[in-house]
């Protein structure tokens, strides 16, 4: 048994933490969030050069063949920097899905374009009525000639609107509630019949609602086989929960250290507020939540990568992260007093990201409900 980082992971952690420290200060992040583009194309190239875009993909398509633990290590560091580039959307979600489900001939070109940093992707799966439950989606892809006609509305597609390609989940069969009948399509954001309502999210990412009205595509737009995408989507979502949770751990550990530093220097009543025992205990609670969250992250990374009870492990992780995030995020703000609720201080921005991480990929309540249901039939 060994929880230490291997050489590759150590290298990843060092390079990511150096990047965040030197190139992703809070002021430059703010400039990126407020820029017209909403992300930094220059940084994206750096991610390509550092091999981050290649990390989880197999060597035969130009990837590094990295493991889920490698991805976890990288994501934790990106969390510390509150990175807004669409790494999760492009690499962890859309890329992962292409790798799992696209036909061999499609895969090569798409992943090469992704890995080189040329092409962004986003995952257009979730819908309003379905929320994060992919089986409930209702977007349709009816046969039309030798191609398909797509209709539907995708909710809050993170990373859409940056000029990348959409990996759309649509039904070529079955109906909402069925796992069968789900297919993947690759669409351009500006294809005819595709309309995007773009916006920034509460935590500074770019996203869009995507409406598909009679979008006509040829057979080449279908990724992999029709009607069989559910297992790949499910596996991708488990990986994504691990990666997102790793990011959350980076965010929480940063909030803890910011809070401890603050309580050492902020003085009231003539003493540092950190000398009040009630605040020390509060920070001890935050520390324990961070550690428990990290432990759960290791457990789920191993379980998901090993494919044993992956769904349960991913849900358990999302629940535990949601719980830790609530305590750590809220107390970080509380202990900063008025400063905590300002836009000026970075602490509030870590808190906002952490809050949105709970919503993203299904909330604590949603996953807890799912686990309770699994228990009651087991």
């Amino acid at each position: 048994m060994d929880f230490s980082l291997n050489d590759i992971q150590q290298m990843l952690q060092d390079s990511a933490s150096r990047f965040v420290r030197n190139d992703y200060g809070f002021a430059s992040r703010r400039a990126i969030v407020e820029s017209a583009a909403g992300y930094s194309a220059a940084h994206w190239q750096t991610y390509a050069e550092l091999g981050w875009l290649a990390l989880p993909f197999p060597e035969e398509v130009g990837g590094m063949g990295g493991s889920l633990s490698d991805l976890m290590v990288l994501q934790t560091e990106l969390g510390r920097g509150l990175i807004v580039e669409p790494y999760l959307a492009t690499v962890v979600m859309a890329g992962n899905l292409i790798n799992r489900h696209a036909a061999a001939g499609q895969k090569q070109a798409l992943l090469e374009a992704l890995i080189s940093g040329e092409q962004l992707f986003s995952f257009a799966g979730f819908e309003a009525a379905a929320q994060h439950d992919i089986r409930l989606i209702s977007t349709t892809a009816g046969a039309d000639g030798d191609g398909y006609r797509l209709n539907g509305h995708k909710a809050v597609v993170i990373g859409a609107g940056l000029g990348g390609k959409l990996v759309v989940v649509a039904r070529t069969g079955g109906r909402p509630g069925d796992a069968g009948g789900l297919s993947l399509f690759l669409l351009d954001e500006d294809a005819e019949g595709v309309s995007l309502q773009g916006y920034t999210t509460n935590d500074g990412l770019r996203a869009a609602d995507v409406r598909l009205s009679d979008v006509l595509v040829g057979p080449e737009a279908l990724l992999g086989d029709a009607g069989t995408a559910a297992p790949a989507i499910n596996a991708m979502l488990n990986d994504a929960i691990v990666a997102l949770s790793a990011e959350a751990v980076g965010v929480m550990e940063t909030l803890l250290s910011r809070t401890v530093e603050f309580c050492k220097v902020r003085k009231q009543f003539g003493v540092p507020i950190g000398s009040f025992q009630v605040l020390q205990h509060r920070m001890a609670d935050m520390f324990m939540e961070c550690e428990q969250a990290r432990s759960m992250l290791y457990y789920a990374t191993i379980a998901v990568a090993g494919g044993c009870d992956a769904d349960v492990a991913a849900s358990r992780l999302k629940v535990r992260i949601g719980k830790a995030a609530r305590l750590v995020g809220q107390q970080a703000i509380q202990l900063h007093g008025g400063m905590g609720v300002t836009d000026e201080l970075d602490v509030g921005h870590y808190f906002k990201r952490l809050t949105m991480i709970n919503t993203q990929l299904g909330s604590r309540d949603a996953h807890l409900h799912r686990l309770v249901q699994l228990q009651s039939v087991a």
């Binding site: 309003a128 009231q268 009543f269 007093g337 836009d343 949105m356």
Partner: protein, 398 residues
């Protein structure tokens, strides 16, 4: 022990309902119902409607133009106001400086300031906190030095809520630092248009401009603007803080928000997750409701004690702590009800008059900013940690 309303109280309730139905400006009610922030004019319009009716001074004694209402009447009023989606009454004039002036001010000050406060003709803000005097309020450094018929004020205040709307600010200033720090503090009223006063916005997490820094540079304030005695400001402020803490509980608005949430879940519009089937969520909702019922009865106990002549004591700290915890629990429940549409930041969508295409259910994207904004409630008015220190010291005797 009973909480039945008398015939008169029931008639009063009907009158209050009538008022909110017919006399509260509809545009203001719509904004509150839609989750928009009312602006300065909206607040003034509502409070002036109350004034016309003779109801502006809810807690004021009759001799100063107040209602002289019983505890039951106030309870009825606050509940009906919340149920009618009335905005909160801005506390700085009516609930804070007004009571200080009628309790500790001289006749001239009463005649000069109270009518405009009651009629919401003048907007007040609260200048207590400073960058280095938050929880340790008595550590404040803004200095007022006597110069003939004036005080010369230098220093800065911060977190001043809606200071950018204000005509006047009531300040705690230091007039002496020779003795105990609480003893050299005075209560001073300052015209915001005085030369040397500048207001700088502080943007909060939700992207809004609600609080400010206020700077004073050689501001000349006439000595007649000193309330009560020099050096007694701390005593006056403490009385006022107790009032502020009772107001902060927000039981009636929380009941309203809970009722709205239940109505939403009973008939969820497209895009709202079907949370009624989620026992985990429902358990949280029910627990919040139980806490709220307890708090409502705690508040009733405090109100009836006050009605029999006792000043709100340390138990008002319970109202502040529990009231704000419940508000924040409601924020979390509403955030959950927003589902995936908690994520978009589209502030224009919850502005009044928005007619574009809504992203997700109309209310949903305003829930995260509200959740962020409301982290303030456990911080302002004396943080919840400070309230617990008060309970430990004043109630438990440590």
């Amino acid at each position: 022990m009973n909480i039945d309303f008398t015939e008169e109280e029931l008639a009063f309730r009907e009158e209050v309902r009538q008022f909110f139905r017919n006399e509260m400006p509809a545009s203001v009610r719509d904004k509150v119902a839609r989750g928009c922030w009312p602006d300065r004019e909206d607040h003034v319009a509502y409070q002036q409607a109350l004034y016309e009716k003779g109801w502006a001074g809810v807690n004021w004694p009759v001799e100063y133009g107040g209602t002289g209402w019983s505890a039951a009447q106030r309870y009825i009023f606050y509940n009906e106001a919340a149920a009618a989606d009335a905005p909160r009454i801005i506390p700085f004039g009516l609930a804070m400086v007004g009571p200080v002036i009628y309790t500790f001010g001289n006749d001239e000050q009463k005649a000069r300031f109270l009518p405009d406060i009651l009629a919401s003709r003048v907007w007040w803000c609260q200048g207590y906190s400073e960058p280095n005097a938050g929880s340790d309020l008595a550590g404040l450094k803004t200095r007022a030095v006597r110069d003939g018929a004036h005080y010369i004020v230098n220093g800065s205040k911060t977190w001043t809520t809606l200071g950018h709307y204000a005509d006047w600010i009531f300040c705690l200033v230091r007039t002496d630092d020779s003795g105990k720090k609480q003893e050299g503090i005075s209560f001073l009223l300052i015209d915001m248009t005085s030369p040397g006063v500048t207001v700088k916005p502080i943007i909060t997490l939700d992207g809004r401009h609600e609080v400010n820094e206020v700077f004073f540079e050689d501001v000349r304030v006439p000595v007649e603007n000193l309330v009560g005695e020099e050096g007694k400001g701390w005593t006056y402020a403490k009385v006022l803080l107790t009032h502020e803490r009772t107001n902060i509980a927000g039981v009636a608005p929380s009941k309203r928000r809970l009722a709205r949430l239940k109505a939403l879940l009973a008939d969820p519009p497209a895009g709202v997750p079907s949370l009624r089937e989620n026992a985990v969520f429902m358990a949280r909702l029910v627990e919040t409701e139980i806490e709220l019922t307890s708090l409502e009865y705690t508040e009733l106990r405090v109100l009836s004690a006050v009605a029999t002549g006792k000043a709100p004591g340390p138990e008002s700290s319970i109202l502040k702590i529990k009231g704000t915890e419940i508000q924040q629990a409601l924020d979390e429940l509403w955030l959950e009800a927003a589902g995936i549409y908690a994520m978009p930041f589209v502030p224009e969508q919850y502005q009044a008059g928005f007619e574009g295409e809504s992203i997700g259910p109309h209310f949903a994207p305003s829930m995260a900013p509200l959740y962020y904004n409301n982290r303030k409630v456990t911080i302002y008015g004396g943080t919840n940690e400070i309230q617990k220190n008060i309970i430990a010291k004043q109630v438990l005797g440590f």
